[in-house]
Amino acid sequence: MGIADLSSDDIMWLLQLGESMLDINRRSIKKAPTLRGKTIINLFFENSTRTRTSFEIAGKRLSADVINISASTSATKKGESLLDTGQTLAAMQPHLLVVRHGLAGSCAFLAEYLQNTAIINAGDGSHEHPTQILTDLLTIQQSLGSFEGKIMTLVGDIAHSRVARSHLLAAKIMGYHIRLVAPKTLLPLHVARYGCSVYHDFDAAIPGSDIIYMLRVQNERLTSACCFPSIREYHEAYGLHRARQRMAGDHCLIMHPGPMNRGVEISSDVADSLNSRVLHQVENGVSIRMALLTHLINANNPPMLAHNNEDEDDDED
């Protein structure tokens, strides 16, 4: 269901498997027979272009049959409950359900009732977004080699972000340190319990950072307009622009789970800079999802994840 269910060995194994999938994605015939005859249903109650496409491509490149169902086309619109939708689909005997839902815990709920179907959490409310975090970890591993002692500065709407929450959990498991940067209005209470440092001043958090991870300002999740005065002011205080990137130094990676709001949390020149890993994250996302599908669907692999939550709020287009 989430990063919380994984051990460091589990994560390293998935990263290694993901790394070896990269090659399939880069050659001219992008297809391997690994999941031939398997059925995967992408059940997305929240809009998401990139996560859904990433899962769909991952399944198809491994020869699985992938079916997409989105909230607008599902029977939910006609009043069916989440459980009924889940049971109906499970009765069609897919090997795996990929679920994205706006409410935290919905994937765990489905998993509890659908014992015979593997479920991947592709993001449940503000809870977790495990596949995004695995993707990020693979990207970091490729650039920095290891996680131990690295400092990730996570900036933006922490309160509504499942990515932030999953990273806080992953940091404990993999041994990297997180500095959270946000205005008080976008920070949840008691967040320091996760063992991270908390800053309200972006500039103070930058020195020594190995990674600056920007989160999207999620207008659709902000309940009222009171969180910050204006977009321009937010960009000044919490946006990543050239001057701040210079302060961070040449070694510092820039990451963003997408979709980016250029000019809000990140400026265009930074987003397109050499240190930006945003597109690597997207490429690795397909490989990591291929690794997860292979691991979960193929029989006899030791049970590890009941599901993966994707915690990312940033994925909805």
């Binding site: 999938m21 391997a32 027979p33 292979t294 193929n298």
Partner: protein, 184 residues
């Protein structure tokens, strides 16, 4: 029954012989991970001595196996690495031990996902018999017949001088004689 079947000296001699029968101006060697890659490295060294231009690649067939439903993924997946265009090339596929032929079938499947080679030939260091598919190597280093419930392993370690020391041994399979070659 368990124990070493072929020793360093015999293996070195047969590697040399194999290389001699593979000489060409350009040789495209693709080793099957892991043992096959070691054999391919050894052949590369010897082919270069013969004055051939050698291009190397590796295949990991983990995602192409026909028994993924029945057995777990090998804990170490090495990944494939074919740094050249295989289209219209004469490819030598190299493996350490051939048994059922299923590994080679999977490797051919993967190879053709990279392109359309002009031809594919197969070189293996040891043929232990027991084929279940119509696959036969073009070049065989050593051969003997092992019962189906035995596993045949190639081991290569470096001695103090950094020189490779080879041995081929066999042991009773931990799994009940299933129908496959040992894992790649």
């Amino acid at each position: 029954m368990n124990g070493i079947i072929f020793e360093n000296k015999q293996i070195r001699k047969s590697l040399k012989k194999m290389a001699q029968s593979m000489t060409d101006t350009s040789v495209y060697l693709v080793g099957i991970q892991r043992g096959g890659s070691q054999v391919a490295n050894a052949l590369q060294k010897r082919l270069k001595k013969e004055g051939c231009n050698v291009v190397r690649g590796n295949l990991d067939i983990s995602f192409y196996r026909d028994d993924l439903d029945r057995s777990p993924l090998h804990p170490v997946v090495h990944g494939s690495d074919l740094p050249f265009d295989i289209n219209d090339r004469h490819i030598w596929l190299v493996d350490d031990v051939i048994f059922s032929g299923r590994t080679i079938r999977a490797a051919l499947g993967e190879l053709f996902d990279y392109g359309r080679p002009a031809s594919v030939s197969l070189a293996v260091l040891v043929d232990r018999g027991g084929r279940q598919l119509p696959i036969q190597p073009n070049v065989i280093g050593l051969s003997f017949s092992a019962p189906a419930d035995h596993v045949v392993d190639l081991t290569m370690c470096k001695n103090a001088a950094g020189k490779a020391v080879w041995s081929i041994s066999r042991r009773l399979s931990e799994r009940k004689a299933c129908s496959e070659e040992h894992l790649p």
